[in-house]
């Protein structure tokens, strides 16, 4: 069993429900999109904003999950639940973004560092007219799209494709799938439970990587590790490595 097996399955179930409700659109990664860079001055103020996603006062969730099993990923698929940017002009929408990554050899030794690296890429999108603010601890992502970007045709296919392209620059990333949710606060909220589970796993992983103590009896993540076999394997590998290091 891998770290996020349950979350992958629950998100697939969620997408199945959304599809049944006629809310989804499935698109493919568009190769070689040429969207100009904002030269890291991507400030979009309220007056310049055509579409706002995941404002701090609205629902928002942003998740990144990975697996060694590339079959779990529909590579290059961009799924949109709800309206696209061009259909949302003048609106402030709730926002969900889920990134599935299939890679090779994610293991106890590299999972933490790779996660940090992929998180960095996820939040480092320099597209003219697109401003993003995000906090991984809150699992929130807030973005604004300028009027100019809308006039020039910015869409979720472009956003998703730019992200897929950046993530694929990493050699260990073989497949990427992106899901955007803009349909309603309730549809974004439905993903919060999955987000909380994923956050528990990531926090447990972070704690293992950062702390020298492996005293499970006093650890707040004992339930999470009991539930996820891969975390226990990760812990065992780290304990073994530290014992070897300490002679």
């Amino acid at each position: 069993m891998e770290l996020f097996d349950r979350q992958f399955d629950e998100i697939r179930d969620y997408l199945h429900q959304m599809r049944a409700a006629g809310k989804t659109r499935e698109m493919s990664y568009a190769r070689n999109i040429e969207w100009p860079s904002g030269n890291n001055r991507n400030l979009v103020l309220a007056g310049d904003t055509a579409v706002e996603l995941g404002n701090p006062r609205d629902e928002s969730i942003s998740l990144l999950l990975w697996t060694n099993d590339s079959d779990k990923i529909k590579d290059s698929r961009i799924t949109l639940v709800g309206p696209d940017l061009q259909e949302s002009v003048g609106k402030r929408l709730p926002f969900g973004k889920i990134v599935f990554i299939g890679g090779s050899l994610f293991n106890a030794d590299n999972a933490y560092d790779r996660y940090r690296e992929l998180e960095g890429i996820r939040y480092d999108m320099d597209l003219k007219g697109y401003m993003m603010r995000a906090v991984s601890q809150y699992q929130r992502e807030w973005s604004r799209v300028s009027w100019e970007a809308i006039r020039n045709g910015l869409s979720f296919v472009i956003l998703g494709s730019a992200l897929i392209e950046r993530l694929r620059e990493k050699q260990y990333v073989s497949t990427v799938e992106v899901i955007f949710v803009t349909s309603s606060p309730e549809d974004v909220l439905s993903l919060k439970g999955i987000g909380t589970q994923a956050a528990g796993i990531i926090n447990a992983m972070n704690k293992m990587a950062e702390e020298m103590s492996f005293d499970c009896d006093t650890c707040e993540y004992i339930d999470v590790c009991s539930d996820v076999t891969a975390l226990r394997s990760m812990r065992d590998a780290l304990v073994k490595r530290r014992m070897t290091q300490n002679g």
């Binding site: 030269n39 940090r116 601890q137 950062e210």
Partner: protein
Amino acid sequence: MANAGLEKTKIIAVCGKGGVGKTSISAAMTKILIDNGGQKVLAIDADPAVGLAISLGVQVRKSIDDIRNDLIGRVQKGEGGDREEVITRLDYEVFDAIEEQHGLAFLAIGRPEKEGCYCQVNSLLKDIMASIASSFDYVIIDGEAGVEQINRRVMERVSHLILVSDTSAKGLHVAQTIKAVSDKAIAYQKAGLILNRIRSEEEKDRLSIMPELNCQGWIPEDDVIRSFDIEGRSILEIPDCPAMGAIRESLWRFGLLPSQEQKKL
């Protein structure tokens, strides 16, 4: 932290003795720069009394001090996270604290930082504010009396230092002190004095102003600006009046605004 664009940003600090009209001048400059069109303007209220917020008709929800205290509280509870996590969270929180209306972006500092305490948090906040400032064309900082902040290097990235004084000897003396301290602490492009609440040209001519203060203009006593101040109305709604004309002229002298002739070209 990406501050690459900061050299393109004009960071204007308005300093002077308390009560000389710094806040009204900061608000008026903000309005003029916004009205100039197409420019992104961030006004920073560095006065704990949030006078600039009132002058610009902004309701402050959250200040930099609130963000700092929240983070310090989390760190004390062991919930701080690593440096990268703290940076992204502060960036998000600071951006959320920006109030936006009528083409204006506004940020309140709240109470000043405590020297020596949590200097890493303060240092990160400075970096993030510099990073956010770099996305704007103009940043106007309305300070407290001024000297303290310059000493704390809060305004070390200022490009234009505008000293404000009334006709009082005390006001001019404070301006001189600020200038002397800033000359050592800030690598600004231009510094100069604006005289405020001048009753006539003769009154201005009678003043003996040290040449190093580099006087860049004078603003007449004006009932329109005074009534807006007394009634607590937003300067963003002020009609054109002699004081606004004089402030516009001063901005032009500081090189912060193109003259009418340059605009036509």
